[in-house]
């Protein structure tokens, strides 16, 4: 059924456009998947939700690969999931082997992405069916798991991660309260009564914030010379022999990690690199241009990006900043992600899943065919790119609701994002909390109504108890680490 929807000419064009734009965005330094999806979300509002999400999903896949291009060529990861690709990818580029590095990443991504979609198709309906039995306490516990694990894993500094997350929850409190109708923290400003819309916030934090951060520096490293034609990016038989198990392991690992709420592609790629180095017969080559060090993580991050759709679609819990923004998009289209989505909007879900197959094929074709083009895009001076990205943030924020208020909000959060990046806070945790906040609050209050104000309800129901334990564990880990450090110091 899904293919009938995804294969309409318009949706195919959307998938191609998404992959193309995504690769370009991913290849531009300073614009990663979350900012790309945030900036392009307004463009999809004129379409029907299925076409819109197909384009966004294709875009997500494209940005993942685009980030690889910059990692290999200029040692600058376009997004966090391709940080490890720099280690061996750039070394390969310096040895004149940028072509095979990009090629094996493209094939690895394709294989991992395709297998990922099959797994997505098999796992999601089961998980959705299971999640149908969830009541408010389970939903709230699940939100707690999502929020705490994301916070733990996205930042290096756990305390600052939690501060970012709670700040996001506080911002989510602004606006009409769904149960009592109180207009909270509106200060009499009509625009504030509707609450703080996460999209201008996301465009500001990720788009403008990153641009401001990068605007500090003048110039950037040059692209290493080399050949980037179609024949030059084909990995050799020896490359394949070294990479095939790395790709297989990366796919399985990536999917498993990506499904956990909060872990996502970045963690998957790091884990895969560690695994490859451990199992390798010649670990000393890692960091000096080992092709497995590119193939494994690149497969893992694509499998994880696909797997991140599982919790988003079935539980309504995004696995990463990018899926958080996509989730917000679904809500704007009036869809309610969660177990009911599979029953109420099957054409949407299956259309999306089928389009993922197509996006992966497109990604393989486009990435091998257009690498020379993207190499050229990297040569555009940042002095020209930077103002262009800002104008895109401004028109994007404006076109959400045709309001200058949103532009102002975007601008304000651009400054906040810049400061957060400078001071080591986590914009991703903030956005995630802002998206989940209202749902978490509703689930919490409904639970407390059911239990007649007893907190025990979260710990006596088995599923909710397990989830709560996980969330508490996520909070306890950094605390324990801190205590141990203090004990050693004292």
């Amino acid at each position: 059924m899904g293919f009938g929807i995804a294969l309409t000419p318009f949706n195919i064009v959307m998938a191609i456009a998404g992959v193309m734009v995504g690769m370009l965005i991913g290849a531009l330094p300073g614009v990663g998947p979350p900012s790309g999806v945030a900036m392009l979300l307004p463009l999809t509002f004129g379409m029907d939700p299925t076409s819109g999400i197909i384009m966004l999903a294709a875009l997500y896949a494209g940005t993942m690969y685009g980030g690889t291009i910059t990692s290999v060529l200029i040692n600058t990861p376009g997004e966090s999931a391709s940080v490890v690709t720099c280690l061996d990818g750039y070394q390969m580029a310096l040895q004149g082997r940028a072509g095979p590095a990009l090629g094996i990443a493209a094939f690895g991504s394709f294989i991992a992405g395709t297998i990922g979609v099959v797994l997505l198709m098999l796992v999601s309906p089961l998980l959705a069916k299971w999640a149908l039995s969830f009541g408010p306490p389970e939903t709230f516990a699940l939100m707690c798991v999502g929020l705490t694990t994301v916070t733990l894993l996205t930042g290096e500094d756990a305390l600052k991660g939690y501060i970012s997350m709670v700040l996001g929850l506080m911002l989510a409190m602004v606006g009409y309260d769904i149960i009592s109708g109180d207009a909270r923290f509106g200060f009499g400003i009509p625009e504030m009564m509707d609450g703080i819309d996460f999209l201008p916030v996301a465009i500001g934090l990720f788009g403008l914030g990153e641009v401001l951060h990068d605007a500090e520096q003048v110039g950037k490293p040059p692209v290493p010379k080399g050949k980037y034609g179609l024949r030059d990016v084909m990995p050799s038989a020896a490359d394949w022999a070294r990479s095939k198990w790395a790709i297989a392991r990366g796919t399985v690992l990536g999917f498993a990690v990506g499904m956990l709420p909060g872990a996502g592609p970045t963690v998957a790629s790091f884990l895969s690199y560690t695994v490859e180095k451990k199992v390798s017969a010649h670990p000393e080559q890692f960091g000096k241009g080992a092709i497995e060090g590119v193939a494994g993580p690149e497969s893992a991050n694509n499998a994880a990006a696909t797997a991140a759709m599982v919790p988003m679609l079935t539980l309504g819990i995004p696995g990463s900043a990018t899926t958080a923004i996509m989730l917000g998009g679904l809500m704007m289209w009036g869809l309610r992600p969660g177990p009911m989505l599979f029953e109420k909007n099957p054409q949407f879900v299956w259309g999306l899943i089928a389009s993922q197959y197509i996006a992966n094929v497109m990604l393989l074709i486009l990435s091998t065919a257009f690498i020379p083009l993207f190499v050229r895009a990297l040569r555009i001076p940042y002095g020209i790119l930077m103002p262009l990205i800002i104008t895109f943030c401004i028109t994007g924020a404006y076109s959400l609701k045709n309001s200058v208020w949103d532009v102002g909000q975007m601008l304000a959060f651009g400054v906040v994002g810049y400061a957060m990046k400078k001071l080591g806070f986590s914009p991703a945790a903030l956005v995630l909390a802002l998206v989940l906040g209202p749902h978490a609050e509703r689930a919490l209050r409904q639970s407390l109504i059911i239990s007649d104000a007893g907190v025990g309800i979260f710990f006596t129901r088995p599923i909710s108890a397990v989830l709560m334990a996980l969330a508490l564990l996520a909070i306890a880990v950094p605390l324990l680490r801190l205590l141990r450090k203090a004990a050693r110091a004292g």
């Binding site: 305390l159 929850l169 506080m170 009592s180 909270r184 605007a215 930077m386 532009v407 001071l423």
Partner: protein
């Protein structure tokens, strides 16, 4: 980093105190059947306060270069200033003319790109903006006094 963290912590403490107090003062703590609209905001303020105290009193984690260089700070302020000016003036000069002017100012003044390139890119970007947002997506962009489309 230590100083920056302490200032941030102080700001967070003040903010969370105001947030919790404001919630208790203006909204209902407990409704007819369950927690009211002040319930979660109050707790969030409390949690944030605790985290803020943690940030204030812990041993600061040293990060090398959080402070921008003089030149870096100048560049960020210029970009930010021009962007704010653009947004403030958007209703007067219109989005399309505004985009062209904005690009021209930043590329020429800050980035010292050659004139011909500045003009070509500003014109193309403004045109593309019109085509995508105004023409295809029918977004009513601010028109401004110079030019109505």
């Amino acid at each position: 980093m230590g100083k920056a963290d302490r200032i941030t912590a102080a700001l967070l403490l003040a903010f969370s105190a105001a947030f919790s107090a404001g919630a208790l003062k203006y909204y209902t703590w407990w409704g007819d059947s369950g927690p009211g609209s002040a319930f979660l905001p109050f707790w969030l303020g409390l949690v944030m306060g605790t985290l803020g105290l943690g940030l204030l009193f812990r041993r600061p984690v040293e990060a090398a270069d959080w402070m921008p260089s003089r030149e870096g700070a100048r560049r960020v302020l210029v970009v930010l200033g021009v962007t704010v000016a653009f947004v403030v003036l958007m209703q007067v000069i219109g989005m399309i003319v505004g985009v062209a002017l904005f690009l021209a100012v930043l590329m020429r003044y800050l980035e010292r790109q050659p004139w011909w390139l500045t003009i070509v890119i500003s014109a193309v970007a403004a045109g593309a903006n019109w085509l995508v947002f105004e023409h295809w997506l029918h977004v009513p962009l601010p028109q401004g006094i110079f030019w109505t489309f």
